[in-house]
Every structure is written in structure tokens, then in C-alpha cells.
Symmetry: C2
DNA sequence: ACCCGCAGTGAGAACGATTGTCAAAACTCC
DNA sequence: GGAGTTTTGACAATCGTTCTCACTGCGGGT
């Protein structure tokens, strides 16, 4: 512990790498994997180590700057999101996402949990589907 | 195609291994990982390869005999569940699970998806928390 | 009972996303 | 400028899961 011992809250230095990741996140609206984001940075000539991309995304997720979700096969996807609690409607094939809110659902989960004596409750809720573009694209293919 | 060409639906042979996995699933009600189930079988003296456990669980999940969910760090957990669509209230530390249903939520997700032109919609919804037992156990520890 | 053919199995290799390591580089503050 | 941290990145290591492929064994005709 430092002698100062003050509120060491979350002193996050604004390094070149971190701002690069932040800018990358601002450049797209769909959900992408850490590796895809790392590749994107590479294409732009921004050299950032893969581990750093992972670390930065995690930090930003903790501070609520980005949302993370897991595909059905377990891969983590990331996206810059609004700070308020919400869920997503995500396209399975292109990753396009829409933020959705459902106060009723929030209430319902809390109630259910209480009824069963569960504490420290959290929840995950994602809606997956095929967005309009992808649906018509695949229809054309038949 | 066989000459008979009858409904070859999902001809799944009832092998020793498959019944062993099925029985193992019947012996607990919490969510467990494939590896844990494999270990459980080992303890019972039932020799079943890990790959077979994975394959069997997947098959059973497809046919709706078991439910799978992913922990927050991406690991798949399995549990024998009732056949009707439902969600879970799961304890983060011991895996204890309660099946819950929310017709309103089902309706809501479908509506939201339609509004945004998404097709082939599915959704995931799990509620995580600390069950009564685990909560009091950790409280005792302080 | 005997054969055949193919679904099923298992040991181990391979995979792929993520995390750990640790010395070098970059920052902050003095 | 220098001390003390934090951050970085190349690479190794993890770890859950899937793949490979030779081998096993059920099933169903004969
Ligand atoms: Zn799409
Ligand atoms: Zn919510
Ligand atoms: Zn518990
Ligand atoms: Zn549902």
C-alpha cells in the first residue's frame, strides 16, 4: 500500500494503446471479438499487443464503458454501449446489435430471486436472431 | 440413405456409455461442467471417455433432454431439465438451480424482435445469485 | 450363430480463446 | 533528471472443447 493510501479508485492512465482501443470501439456498432478488434487496430497501423487489447476491454467492461456478451459457443464479444443497464438484440450472423430495455423484466428477475432467497443477484438476457439484412441476403441465396 | 428411407430421425443407440451419462445426470440437480460429470462417472467406476461425455451431452441438449448454460467466463454447464421452455435461477458458487418461467418475458422478447425485423429469434436469460445456503455460509466466514 | 456395415468409442493430439510471465518501456510526480 | 509505479508486448502456458482415427460392438439380414 502506498503511504498516501487515498482512494486509489481506478487510476487508469491514458496511454496510446488505450486510446487506440477506445477509438477502435467508437468506429463500429456491432459486437466484435477481442481478436477482431486487435486485427482492426493492426490494419490501421496502430500497433497494440493482443494481451493489451484483452486487458483494456476488461477494464472498460468493469467501468461500464463497453458491454460484453458470449456467443452460444462461448466466445466473448465486445461493443461500446450506453452506460445505463440494458440488453441486446443481436444478429447471429453479422453481429449487428440493438440496445433494448425492459423495466418489467428487471422487476421480474428481482422478484423471482427474492422469492427464492437468492442474494447478490445479476442476470444476463440477450435476444439472438437474424437481422433484416442478413435474412434477405440468405433468402436471395436459395 | 437406407432402402427403407423411413424417419431416420435421431437413431441414437442406447449404449452403456450413454445410459451411464443419463444416470449420472439424474443423480444431481445443480448445473455441472462436462468435466465434473466425467469425474463423477469415474468415481462410480463407470469408464466413459471424456469426448463421449461431451458428445452425449450435446446430443441430449439438442433433443431437449438437458439444458446447457454458460458461466460468465464461458464454461458450459449442464443439467437434466424439464422439456418445456424455461430459464434458471442459478447459484454462482454451488450451482444450485431453480427452473423459472416468465410468459411475459417470452412475449416481450418476441415483440421486440419483431419490431426490429429480426427473424429466427431465440434468447438466453439466466439469473445468477448466491443461494440461501451459500449466502449464510459466507456470512459465517466473516 | 455368422457377417457386414456403420454408429459409437476413447486416447491423445490439436485447437483456439484467453490468461500469465516478466523484462523492457512509459508515466507521474517530485 | 530520477525514483517508483504502471503498462506493455512477445511468447509461453492454460484450459475447455473438438478432432482424429483405429478399434469396438450393436443390429439386422441370412
Ligand atoms: Zn445481420
Ligand atoms: Zn436487465
Ligand atoms: Zn449455493
Ligand atoms: Zn424464454
Amino acid at each position: 500500500m502506498t503511504s498516501t493510501e487515498r482512494e486509489t479508485a481506478t487510476e487508469m492512465r491514458p496511454t496510446r494503446q488505450r486510446t487506440a482501443v477506445a477509438r477502435a470501439l467508437d468506429s463500429f456498432t456491432d459486437f466484435r471479438s477481442a481478436q477482431e478488434i486487435h486485427a482492426l487496430l493492426g490494419q490501421r497501423g496502430e500497433k497494440v499487443g493482443l494481451a493489451t487489447v484483452y486487458r483494456t476491454l476488461q477494464r472498460m467492461a468493469e467501468s461500464g464503458d463497453v458491454d460484453a456478451l458470449r456467443t452460444e459457443d462461448g466466445e466473448a464479444l465486445w461493443r461500446r454501449c450506453s452506460a445505463t443497464h440494458h440488453h441486446h438484440l443481436v444478429c447471429r450472423s453479422c453481429g449487428a446489435a440493438v440496445e433494448v430495455e425492459g423495466p418489467a423484466v428487471e422487476r421480474w428477475t428481482r422478484t423471482i430471486a427474492e422469492e427464492h432467497g437468492f442474494a447478490e443477484v445479476s442476470h444476463t438476457l440477450e435476444i439472438f436472431g437474424s437481422c433484416r439484412d442478413c435474412t434477405s441476403a440468405s433468402a436471395a441465396g436459395s
